[in-house]
Subunit: 218 residues, 2 copies
DNA sequence: ACCAAACTGAACCATCCGGTTAATTACGTC
DNA sequence: GACGTAATTAACCGGATGGTTCAGTTTGGT
């Protein structure tokens, strides 16, 4: 016990900035999704990381920088998933049905992302201002719907004033609410709507409402 | 500068527990709605109050107690507003239309409440567990819709499997989303949908979708 | 061999925050 | 008007938190 000398801990490592950043980002995403911007603790994040607190500030500047990176990353990866959906060639009604089903399932499968978006809305979208390249990713979603609408209108099955943006809004609204508000809704009205069976019904219900809302009746 | 003696500051005041509580609650509601549970600062709340920090803990125990009181109070006052809507005697389709319009306008007019609910969902509804008497207030909302549904089904204008709870879910979803997610939605797709004119269209669109979703076609 | 960039680890700090202590004032009641 | 309790105030505290700095070591490319 005489030696205060710190032994030559090898502490060897590989240089891999991207992996370190990705590691931090992944853990931070969970923490922010769980506790929000102010509720998240940087300490808690680094504890679950192979990295250190020092590196967080080294790469992301400050807490908000990390949060912004998390948000941007989440948006990007989610939009990439969405982009993989291919509805071309389907009849418009069928395409719309599929889109609703996909969105519904997708949101259900990604509650973490939903929470991040909800949190960002609490912050009034303040941190999304400079995420420039999201615009193109978003336009893809609308473009798909635009094609569906045009086809539907041309075929005379959709109302001529059908708006892709409004359609997207309606679909998003219900699919988002289903995940984001399930807790208060359950607390208020019971959990009956959140069993697997009921969720299937809910999904068809959304599809029907959205579809019947734009259907042209002769 | 020789005297450390504190002069006899009169510091006179009136005893008025209810007013003090109400004062704190009102300010706290704004602060929590703005910054969330963890983001809210008790100090900031007290600064805008005629009261002191000590009183917050005196009356509400701790920060979470205050938050819970705020949430409960907000729910109660909002449900009271909703309860004033009277739709009895209207034909079912008309009643449903009115309910959608009312809910849409109501949510738009109460963004602070919407934010509180969104925040509580981030906390997974943890703080609503013991708000016992909300159940009855909620059941009122469903009861109204139940009557509308029964009438609609009886008259043969609604599908026989129409569920009041699902209807409420759909209406809530879109009206809630419209306020809660307007920031990220605007950031992603522009603010076109949030002008007064577009909001009117959106509102009719919701009404149409909801209505056509339950309408029985012969 | 050399150098910039990546990385480590621990100490440090100012600030802030929720919560508490202790004393003072108001007020109903007997 | 004395007394006890509830209401209210000012000052204070321990701990945690975001963020910084020091003092390096290791890696990998040239």
């Amino acid at each position: 016990m005489e030696d205060g000398h710190q032994q030559a801990k090898p502490r060897s490592w590989k240089q891999n900035p991207e992996a370190v950043k990705a590691d931090i980002l992944a853990v931070a995403r969970e923490e922010f999704a769980e506790h929000g911007l102010s509720g998240a603790r940087i300490q808690k994040i680094v504890e679950r990381t192979k990295s250190s607190k020092r590196m967080v500030f080294y790469y992301f500047g400050d807490k908000e920088g990390l949060y912004r990176a998390v948000l941007e990353d989440a948006y990007r990866s989610v939009r990439r998933q969405e982009g993989e959906l291919d509805l071309d060639g389907l009849p418009p009604e069928e395409a719309l049905l599929r889109l609703v089903e996909f969105t519904f399932d997708h949101h259900r499968a990604n509650p973490e992302f939903i929470r991040l978006v909800a949190i960002e809305n609490i912050h009034r979208g303040r941190h999304m201002a400079d995420m420039s390249d999201l615009a193109e990713l978003n336009s893809v979603a609308i473009a798909t719907l635009s094609r569906i609408c045009s086809a539907g209108i041309a075929e005379g099955v959709f109302r001529p004033d059908t708006s892709p943006l409004v359609l997207h809004w309606q679909i998003s609204a219900m699919c988002f609410f289903n995940v984001a508000n399930r807790h208060t809704f359950s607390e208020n009205f019971g959990g009956d709507l959140f069993t697997d069976a009921a969720q299937d019904d809910l999904r068809s219900g959304i599809a029907r409402s959205v579809l019947e809302g734009v259907r042209l009746r002769r």
